[in-house]
Amino acid sequence: QRQNECQLDRLNALEPDSRVEAEAGVTEYWNSNHEQFQCANVAVVRRTIEPNGLTLPFYNNGPMLVYVVQGTGISGTLIPGCPETYQESQQGQQQQQQGRRSQDRHQKVRRFKEGDIIALPAGVAHWCYNDGNKPVVVVSLHDTGNSANQLDRSPREFYLAGNPREEQQLQEQQEQSQQGQRRGDRRQQHQYGRRRGQKQCNNVFCGFEPQMLADAFNLDTNTARKLQNDNDNRGSIVRVRGGDLQGVRPPTEREEEEEEEERRDYDTN
């Protein structure tokens, strides 16, 4: 079957097939069932993130390369086992001393700009935030045929938060767009379009019992239930409250360059 998937009579330039709107942006999908994508074992997604928009953290079943077509912003990659190397600023400490708020710690966040490529290993969760004043547009290539993916070749997104609505909307759109199209004997089903009932909660915490989450997070069940985001209709790109991610201040580009230079000097020495 795999050999037959690359017997293409004709290639076409393709536009996205589906479009899903969220509170602070749009996600457009190219249908991964298309024979060109089936041949290459990839899926492609384009996300447009409005200013002050935050993509909810998620991970994929294959590695991804993300190209920043337009805009600037901040991204975070959540690598298990890595230390929380960043702390809130001095100002945050002073505020803490004044009893206003405590200091946060987290893993490194990075600034990105137009022209950047961001590499994301399979199974590594990530988020990104548009702190500029024009929309961020990113195109992501999802390599489902990579050996790092041991599931089937359907692209899958596992959300850690929120209640993304993509699947249901995509299914409706793809059913319409696929009417009349030749489907051949392909057994694979487009992941995003799979029907799974009318479930209203679909981040990974939703499948756990609140009591189990409470035990695992050492929380009361009411707080644990908040992880499930039951009635959240914002989609996968949400607007940040208050107009800014206050505690997140990645190093400026200049600082990053200096850091890189120091690293190179160190390597040379």
Binding site: G76, E157, G207
Partner: protein, 185 residues
Amino acid sequence: GLEETLCSMRLRENLGNPRADIYTPQAGRISTLNSHNLPILRWLQLSAERGVLYNNGVMVPHWNMNAHSIMYVIRGSARVQVVDNYGQSVFDDTVRRGQILTVPQHYAVVKRAEAEGFEWISFKTNDNAMISPLSGRTSAIRAMPEDVLANAFRISRDDARRIKFNVRETTLTSSASRSQRRAEA
């Protein structure tokens, strides 16, 4: 060169003894065997994990980043929940001695031992299988800034802080002492 490499390779390692790579006195222990401590596993592209959970011990929610996990229950029983990419529970039941449960790559899973504790061996389809925990000191949640958490879950910064920092352990924790504390409070 076979006699210098393959023939002399170590083929055996004991995972049953109580040496552990991860140990939490209240919750249990986990030992792992991968191609770092048994190099032939690099050829086999397989690894293993041996776990022991005491009564009410919890292996925190996590996903397998680069492998499927096939778990065989050696002793005791545990409540296990597995969740797919739709946030849908695909397994929520008690597993008992002699049973096997397959947890596909990337699916989220949590285990809580029942009264008699729980022991298992998991075979993983990668010679350096890695997990990504969702709670605890090395978790993805802990790695996120509080503001990102607060906005992603629509919660207060106080709640975000509790979610991030309330569990200090990594991988293994216990619900028993907390239930007791809650009861006392």
